[in-house]
Symmetry: C2
Amino acid sequence: MSDLSRCSLNTATVKHATLTEAVDAAAGAGMGAVGLWRHQVAEHGAEKAARIVSDAGLRVSSLCRGGFLTTADDAGIATALDDNRRAIEEAAGVGTRELVFVVGGLPALSEPGQGPRPDAGPGDRDLVAARSRVADRLADLAPFASEHGVRIVLEPLHPMFAADRAVISTLGQALDLAAPFAPEVVGVVVDTYHVWWDPRLRDEIARAGRESRIASYQVCDWNLPLAADPLNSRGHVGDGYVDFPTVTRWVAEAGYDGDVETEIFNSEIWAADPRETARTVGERYARHVLPHL
Amino acid sequence: MSDLSRCSLNTATVKHATLTEAVDAAAGAGMGAVGLWRHQVAEHGAEKAARIVSDAGLRVSSLCRGGFLTTADDAGIATALDDNRRAIEEAAGVGTRELVFVVGGLPALSEPGQGPRPDAGPGDRDLVAARSRVADRLADLAPFASEHGVRIVLEPLHPMFAADRAVISTLGQALDLAAPFAPEVVGVVVDTYHVWWDPRLRDEIARAGRESRIASYQVCDWNLPLAADPLNSRGHVGDGYVDFPTVTRWVAEAGYDGDVETEIFNSEIWAADPRETARTVGERYARHVLPHL
């Protein structure tokens, strides 16, 4: 039996399971942790959610997610800051220090996955300015995160989401944005789906390790053809194109010794029995990831 | 009337037009050039294709495309080199020095847009090795290109095509691969669709200019939602999320004074009258690109 103590099931992988079902599936598969989402924590309250996880003998490897920091207007900024302060409190309450941030897309956006607003002007497409506002909002939030012992974990998303979900597109860029802050306050996640293609990946993972900023290693595969909603186009580890031995070795060489979360958005996988999905996640982790950790 | 002398219609934008129809549409819209594809040149022969273009008072801004250099087996390498030598001869024959290269995806590929071969092993997913083979093939081909006065123009493709079409995903990576060769032998293309998201874009365009390697500036927009085949998901300049004033200014500041090709793969646009499409291309160029060149 493989050692799955560092293997974590992100509950988005079993989207239609309740928190208890997801936790049972992860524990039943022999895993050591789960990654949670805020709506689940809200449903039970942080204290009870934490107990559901710990009663099953598991840890919380991360909480998803804060972010959406690119808005330019004062009211939108105030709302985003409020919501992120609540997310920081929830992470502390549920017993994880790692709060994953998806930083948001362009102000030109109508809604995720869709075209620009009809009234969007050149300024609403200004990617450089949107990225600069992310830096400003991190400076606003870092002291609050620090007080709560929570780390803001920047997630670079695949460049195909740069317009509508995250203007952070590479690990190097995430590290540059994290640089002004202490590594226990702002970190990064290495998610294979989002960064596997990056020609600078080896160097940037090594840099993330040197700077003590790797807060999470998330794995899932790059499948083709892309799903109609490309957000849901990920696959079980080993089904697609990602070179898991190599990327995992880079992460291990960078000194990362934390949990490895599997986070898959895929409607076929969501339709499967959560216990079956958790078993497959554990098997794929044992075959493609664990030997290289 | 705007000056469209640097505006070029890549004939892929009017995919269903004959070469003569495409050239007439570009000339009728007041453009100065067309970008051609090899199958069109093959249909007429290089000499006649060149005459069709020059008789309309146009230049050939580039030829698409060579490449597909990632195969690992000897027979595949020999075939790829042969085909690319023919492409180099065709570029010279049709009167352009700029031959665009799409370098190919992973050996794990079954076919573009599809999942990996069932028998693909870890080595077939080795992106670092695939990229290294591209460097080797460029060294094989560079002397032949140089003798023919043709430049191999490396095209970084959007990272969502890294598995199945091009293991060159950023302008910086293309410049690194070009570095061992003279700038008149290996260059790069800046295609907004593929590189607009890159946080290092400004620096890399400036570097490309300093190194005299910008062989082409191609424009089309990043539209959402992605088309079922994301290859065909591009839009007319101004319809999507790309910040054309900013990117165009960076290209101009880098000293680029060549043609600006519009290359759009989009089945709705392909269904339109080529003359109508060419007029729209010219209008969008005049509105969103020309003022910033």
